[in-house]
Symmetry: C2
Subunit: 238 residues, 2 copies
């Protein structure tokens, strides 16, 4: 009877943790979209809202950490149950970082005072953001459903995001070389693209956490890398 009571209380703790992670995940998905939207539409109000909302994400992460740790201390779970809680803590850490990166994008909106905004570049950034957002959604669904194959699809899909980022960097460089007046704007877009790419990296981190939670060991094979932005794209014209 006492054991049953403990098991029930533990299940409730786990459900509450999962609920908080889902809440945080939903908020982060919106932050990603809103930050890039605010940049593209130069919407200062929306960008200010993204920056303000980031505080909530930090609070949620600390709440998840606190609840998770207290659950471990009270219920002394072992093996698979313990991994479940550690998984929630890790996912919350990645979500908090994603929120930070979105905030960094939104903070650039106020600086974008140039009239220069070629549609092709904007479309590239939007395409990249759509892809990353769908990666984030898919990996959070995989986390909630404990679905390792679905998580592995996200893990492998990061290659495409990196490839788009590299090609966007090349285009931005061309614009900068053509006319020095484009440099300021293009640098902002480069930092934004890099931030979105890194949000994608955190989605793959979450995919790895799903693997670890279910399989009980860290993922073995190394992640495919298509990102060459730090290796070649800028130097080739530098």
């Amino acid at each position: 009877m006492a054991m049953e009571h403990t098991a029930k209380a533990f299940d409730e703790d786990l459900q509450e943790l999962a609920r908080l992670v889902a809440e945080m995940g939903g908020l982060v998905e919106r932050q990603i979209v809103d930050s890039v939207d605010s940049l593209i539409r130069r919407d200062i109000n929306l960008s200010a809202r993204v920056v303000a909302t980031d505080v909530e994400l930090d609070k949620l992460q600390h709440m998840i950490e606190e609840r998770g740790v207290l659950t471990i201390a009270r219920r002394q779970p072992m093996a698979v149950d313990l991994r479940e809680i550690v998984g929630a803590l890790r996912v919350a850490t990645d979500l908090e970082r994603m929120g930070d990166l979105s905030k960094n994008i939104a903070k650039r909106v106020a600086a974008l005072d140039s009239d220069f905004h070629p549609l092709k570049l904007i479309r590239g950034l939007e395409h990249m953001t759509d892809l990353v957002q769908s990666q984030v959604k898919a990996v959070l669904d995989a986390y909630a459903a404990h679905d390792v194959p679905a998580a592995m699809v996200v893990w492998k899909g990061d290659e495409e995001v990196d490839a788009i980022c590299t090609s966007l960097f090349r285009e931005l460089l061309t614009y900068m070389m053509e006319d020095p007046r484009n440099i300021g704007f293009c640098i902002h877009l480069m930092f934004c693209a890099k931030n979105i790419e890194r949000i994608g990296d955190h989605a793959t981190n979450i995919a790895e956490t799903v693997f670890y939670m279910i399989e009980g060991q860290p993922i073995g094979a190394s992640r495919p890398k298509g990102d060459m932005t730090s290796f070649s794209s800028t130097s080739s014209v530098g």
Copy 2:
């Protein structure tokens, strides 16, 4: 007698955690210096070593997480003891991120094939790195000594790092506007400077963790911000 035994075992667990965090901290300090050194001296071998060493940091972080969580489950510590373990987990997460950022700097070395490297820019980057490295060292010492005032000195000192970064960005922009052939090199240096600035941000995170560990509550006042790189420096000339 049994309680004494438990207390002694718990103390040993804590000491082991502190030892692992110190080992990780020492490694990260070296990674920061080596990554910027490899960039300035264009030393491909050194940069490859930084990239390879990052794997060790990831392993150490997971080891700290695992030990910390097992200690919580086994010893069921409360209040201050629990915060001590949560603090170790948080510091390890920040150190792992600092390692990642150093790796990102080192990965750019292979791409720097231009002959252009003005001494003034290099000195600026070195100065910023020296400052951040001393911040990292100081905050790890404060963490080891449970010294809140020392941690607060680091917390406030981040303003200077951000100011140097902003001024370095301005100079880089000038070089880019002057001659498009400098653009590739300058962009690499911008991303490196941004990475170093963000390593500094993680040092202030650790300062906040020290405060939380000792005081039992999150730090209240907001951190002074001198970083305007995402607000104005590029747009003003863009």
